[in-house]
């Protein structure tokens, strides 16, 4: 397999619109990198630049240390799986999977062995004589992956491969991709706007917004130590709650509530005494307690959890809590909550506050 080094890459279109700004990333051998972000953040553009489908305006792209910035897509030894599958409808699954190798004029017997091996991995052996139209969306996406596998590329690129599938199939296919990655130990880059896919698949996640990389890290790092308000709000479902608060000694005073700070939290906020900051609290870090009260505006029982939406102290400041178990809150009830984990962000820069570091 291969290592990929993306160095200071920019993408500027002919109309001077810049889609990607100074993208830097070193992808290790066998690593699965997920690019995540909202629509239009430049993640697909980045992937297409890596694939060679878009020109790189500035910067360098190295594959195994070799500069491939100007190398045409066909010579990059990368395989891309698209959201739309891009299968040939008039060909059978076998022919679709064999097509790229046939074009390369490889030995038909070798092609046969590779196609059968890929079909075996993907559980498509019994479907090889069928046409794509006879398969479900998930199976078609597996064929698209199989077409990549037979090429034995150095890097696999996935551009939102599960977006066309329904929720159930998406979950199943996601697990298959993960198994495939473990089995092939291949270097993969995967683009999605779905944070669940990102968190479950990635070795490392690259979170992007407006063409800028916001944070690169493991799923736990992004979830537990977000770099800024954007990452904190994008990763996690339901999204993190944000409150404008002031640091008053060993407590935080917000609109309609006051919460105490632990000595560690106080140390973390050193230098922010008397200043306004943004307090972030994940819904799952809110528990029933006595720190503040909220008027319940909605309650959703999900079986294992209950989502409670409310207004803090009748101020209009919204809060979402994900409580464990089945809770019977009704609209208009008053709920009492506490925070058991807090994230602090600088109000001006929106960057995370980490003990003045």
């Amino acid at each position: 397999m291969a290592t990929l080094s993306i160095q200071h890459i920019d993408k500027i279109y002919d109309n001077n619109v810049q889609a990607v700004f100074d993208f830097n990333l070193d992808v290790k051998d066998g690593e699965l990198i997920v690019l995540v972000g909202p629509s239009g953040c430049g993640k697909s553009t980045t992937l297409r630049m890596v694939a060679g489908l878009e020109d790189i305006s500035a910067g360098k792209l190295l594959l195994d240390g070799k500069d491939i910035t100007q190398t045409p897509a066909k010579d990059r030894d990368m395989a891309m799986v698209f959201q739309s599958y891009a299968l040939y409808g008039h060909m059978t699954i076998y022919e679709n999977m064999a097509f790229s190798l046939t074009l390369r004029k490889e030995n038909p017997n070798v092609i046969h062995k590779k196609v059968l091996a890929a079909a075996e991995i993907l559980g498509l052996t019994s479907q090889l004589n069928k046409k794509p139209a006879q398969l479900s969306g998930g199976q078609r996406q597996r064929v698209a992956m199989g077409r990549s596998i037979v090429r034995n590329p150095k890097v696999f690129l996935f551009d939102e491969p599960l977006s066309n599938l329904d929720a159930k199939l998406r979950g199943a296919t996601r697990r298959e991709i993960l198994l495939l990655h473990k089995r092939l130990q291949a270097t993969m880059m995967y683009v999605t706007h779905d944070q669940t896919e990102a968190l479950t698949l990635a070795d490392r996640i690259v979170c992007m917004s407006m063409g800028h990389v916001q944070q690169v890290g493991t799923p736990l790092e992004l979830y537990d130590s977000p770099n800024n308000v954007f990452v904190a709000s994008f990763i996690g479902l339901p999204p993190m709650n944000f409150f404008d608060v002031r640091v008053d000694g060993d407590k935080l005073t917000g609109k309609g509530f006051t919460v105490g700070l632990t000595p560690e939290e106080k140390a973390e906020l050193r230098g922010y005494e008397g200043k306004e900051i943004t307090l972030g609290v994940r819904p799952e870090n809110i528990v029933e307690g006595s720190d503040f009260k909220a008027a319940v505006t909605n309650s959703e029982n999900l079986g294992m959890n209950t989502l409670v939406y409310g207004n803090v102290g009748g101020t209009g400041v919204k809060v979402t809590a994900k409580l464990k178990g089945w809770k019977n809150y009704r609209v208009g009830d008053t709920a009492s909550f506490s925070f058991n984990r807090k994230h602090f962000f600088d109000k001006e820069t929106t960057n995370a506050i980490r003990g003045g570091k």
């Binding site: 076998y94 022919e95 038909p108 017997n109 059968l116 090889l128």
Partner: protein, 164 residues
């Protein structure tokens, strides 16, 4: 990889790859038949019997093209019975050499007061050649398909035996 392995793989490929060799040969057979009838319809012996034969030939050509096209699709999918149909039609093409072309080649007509052959030597050779090439294509298509069908059937039996 040993030679035996290669042969086994070649046979196994037939499970997924269509028999394009037989199919293409059958289509080629149709093509040369078209060349044949374009050529033969340029000749007119002038007898009522010959005109009847031309009429029958037109109908036969339509049936021929339909049957061979269907057979080409059949052999593409390794269907044995279409081989027999192609073989019969191929033999029919050889027989056809002795019907219209022979009559046209042996008949004469008056052009400008001189007696000339209805079908000259060159045209005769071309017409007969087309028919014979068409026949060879159809027969080859049939034979190739029969051989492949047998190989595939044997291979499937082996696979099933291995499964069991």
């Amino acid at each position: 990889m040993t030679e035996m392995d290669d042969r086994t793989i070649q046979r196994d490929r037939m499970r997924f790859i269509k028999n394009t060799a037989s199919s293409s040969l059958a289509i080629l057979g149709i093509l040369f038949n078209v060349f044949y009838f374009v050529s033969i319809y340029q000749s007119d012996v002038g007898t009522y019997y010959y005109k009847i034969l031309i009429g029958v030939s037109i109908v036969y050509n339509l049936i021929f093209m339909l049957a061979v096209f269907l057979s080409s699709e059949g052999v593409k999918n390794y269907q044995k019975n279409y081989s027999y149909l192609l073989a019969v039609i191929g033999i029919g093409q050889i027989v056809r050499v002795f019907i219209l072309p022979m009559q046209a080649h042996s008949a004469t007509t008056m052009v400008g007061g001189a007696e000339v052959l209805v079908m000259g030597g060159g045209q005769f050779a071309w017409t007969v050649g087309c028919l014979l090439i068409s026949a060879v294509c159809l027969l080859a298509s049939a034979v190739i398909n029969l051989v492949k069908c047998k190989e595939l059937a044997d291979h499937m039996k082996t696979l099933e035996a291995n499964k069991a």
